[in-house]
Subunit: 386 residues, 2 copies
């Protein structure tokens, strides 16, 4: 096991009716800015719950943080926050609203330009922030990361910083999500686990078991949620899975990969593909190309997650990859670029960008532009179930 | 899933050589008191590492916190701390040293008598404290609980309060532990998981998987550690398992039991039985008596942990209980009161105490004095492997 330092200070407040607790969780002596997305919260009752809980607090509202939050929008929020002497933020929405709010928190705390903060990779100073999470997917509600898009140049990068002071997760808010949102959320959570799991085997027995535990839970609930998206216990498991998939709990003392995310971010930046969907396309492709490097863990994954025990090592690894892609498809997501009308020129654009930046992603820093071309070309071929 | 609030602020600093980080982790502007047990740290090199890291810090030392820390000893430490205006504590030792230090932290922060704080069940105010954990077992390094003994009356009670600010876990410090210490540590961690797992089934798929993940890991490493107690990766898994078994991570949104602990504490208070060993005796007995109540979860546990799939429900539940007891015995621990020379009069003393206190422990508040008698009587019979 590698040495590690773990600390996750976020207070998780979980369960039905807990939005009412906002009143006691938020500080009394701060000027708040509440941040929202496009307005779905006004139609599903969440906005009313928040407004009721905020009575007596001193706050302003910022509306319009879009999916894949844009630095251009967030700069406006930063300006508004500074002008109003805001010193505490509450994000009400999905991972995009919260990610954007993390950048607003950094922008208000310093004089640096927001995009420079993103490019620096780390927010050194942020005003405190918290969230009411409404779309289980990114895990942003209990981690220090955020992903921001610059529309002007179609770039998408992540940065790290403080954790939310608290996050309220009421599974009932998921009842109004669309089937596609849930599919992307489940794919996102599943892939987050794989990014921290499909690495060198034997680093930590418990971390392996915990990662597998989240994967098995997601596989178990996914078809049930399709049949019954208003089952409280199912949606509780879904919501908790998304949080635990990316809150540092399953990465203690082990290496990580994240190459799939880096490639997926490009698809989103260039084509607007929903984040979870982009991962469903890239992850199986990455496994196909890096099969030899990841074979030992693929075999463990195949056996423990899908019960694959028969055949040669090669056949079992192939089967594990097929089952992974089949899971994404079972959610209702496509897994090939060609199905999304994304052409070969996009592959070349991404390869060109990676080569220009001189990057090499993944656990072993070997996912270069050329390896990325192979991965994306394997995601371009038509899907055929073996 | 039940509503829950989760927050665990402890910074976990894990890995070889990390004790040197004490210097940067401890505050510069505090008067420290470093607390120790009986002196084993002077023989295994830990004391020297701590002293080196503390150079330049303003500190005093308190020695002699015994296993099952006694309030009589801790009162002396509280007095010493107050006289020296101590405002930060560092525990260097096992769970007992840290548990005792948690009470010292509460005693220094208030004027209340230490035993009254324990009896109140909650420390409302504590000075900050941290730990260098040397004996993986109790999980005290990353939770807010402590168990204290009053020697005068042979009573043992727990109380809750703040979490350690940080805990340093260097697996290499475990190399000098005795086989019995390791056996008790593994039994303690295993039983902590069972107390949070062997309850009503179907409350949370992920919490079940995570609890099972710790159990499977402990079962896998236990025989390997016996063969090679200086294998760094094995001892890392052991150390991390003990922490994750009782740091709130596997209890989100689920009910808990803890009746075994309540009964075990009495055995320790009356006979000095090592904590983990007392649990190895009581837990199988509790399962035998509450088999019907716990049957559904026993079946899940039997199948997922031991692969028990054949036979009637009754036979499978019995087998799961047998395998649990066999595991404790495989560690080298006895599991029957008679093997420890503990007689029937002790059973009556415990039953009398529980009846006098009017308590009823466990998930369903039905482990009364009379149920406890049945449990302990089943732990009194000679062990025979089926």
């Amino acid at each position: 096991m590698k040495n590690f330092i773990f600390q996750n200070p976020t207070k998780l407040v979980f369960g039905k009716g807990e939005i009412a607790r906002l009143s006691e969780l938020l500080p009394d002596d701060k000027k708040l800015m509440v941040t929202y997305g496009g307005g779905s919260v006004t139609r599903n009752g969440i906005y009313d719950q928040v407004k009721t809980a905020l009575k007596g607090h001193n706050y302003i509202e910022f509306w319009g943080i879009e999916p894949n939050p844009r630095v251009e929008t967030l700069r406006k929020a930063i300006q508004m926050g500074k002008e109003n002497h805001v010193d505490y933020l509450l994000a009400v929405g999905g991972g995009s609203v919260l990610d954007g709010t993390k950048l607003i928190a950094a922008g208000i705390a310093t004089d640096a330009d927001a995009w420079d903060i993103v490019l620096s990779g780390i927010a050194k100073k942020q005003i405190p922030f918290a969230s009411v999470m409404t779309v289980p997917a990114t895990g942003s509600e209990m981690n220090g990361g955020a992903v921001i898009t610059r529309e002007e140049t179609k770039e998408k990068y992540s940065f790290g910083g403080d954790y939310p002071q608290f996050s309220i997760l009421d599974p009932e808010v998921t009842y109004t999500l669309s089937e596609h949102q849930i599919a992307c959320g489940l794919a996102d959570a599943y892939t987050h686990v794989l990014e921290q799991y499909m690495t060198t085997p034997g680093q930590s027995r418990i971390m392996d078991r915990w990662a597998e535990g989240v994967l098995l839970s997601i596989l178990e609930i996914a078809p049930k949620i399709k049949a019954n998206p208003r089952d409280y216990d199912l949606m509780s498991d879904y919501m908790l899975a998304a949080t635990l998939a990316l809150n540092d709990f399953i990465r203690m003392g082990v290496t990580q990969d994240w190459a799939t995310h880096q490639i997926g971010h490009e698809l989103t930046a260039l084509h607007g593909t929903t984040h979870g969907h982009s991962l469903a396309i890239v992850m199986p492709g990455l496994f196909r190309i890096l099969k030899d490097q990841k074979k030992a863990k693929l075999l463990q994954y195949g056996e423990r997650i899908f019960g694959i025990t028969k055949g040669s090592e090669d056949e079992r690894a192939d089967k594990a990859i097929e089952m992974t892609e089949a899971f994404y498809r079972s959610l209702g997501l496509t897994t090939r670029l060609s199905e999304e009308g994304i052409g070969k020129e996009t592959i070349e654009t991404i390869v060109h960008r990676f080569n220009e930046r001189g990057v090499a992603f993944g656990e072993n820093h070997n996912v270069t532009g050329d390896v990325t071309r192979k991965i994306l070309e394997s995601c371009y071929l038509a899907y055929s179930h073996a």
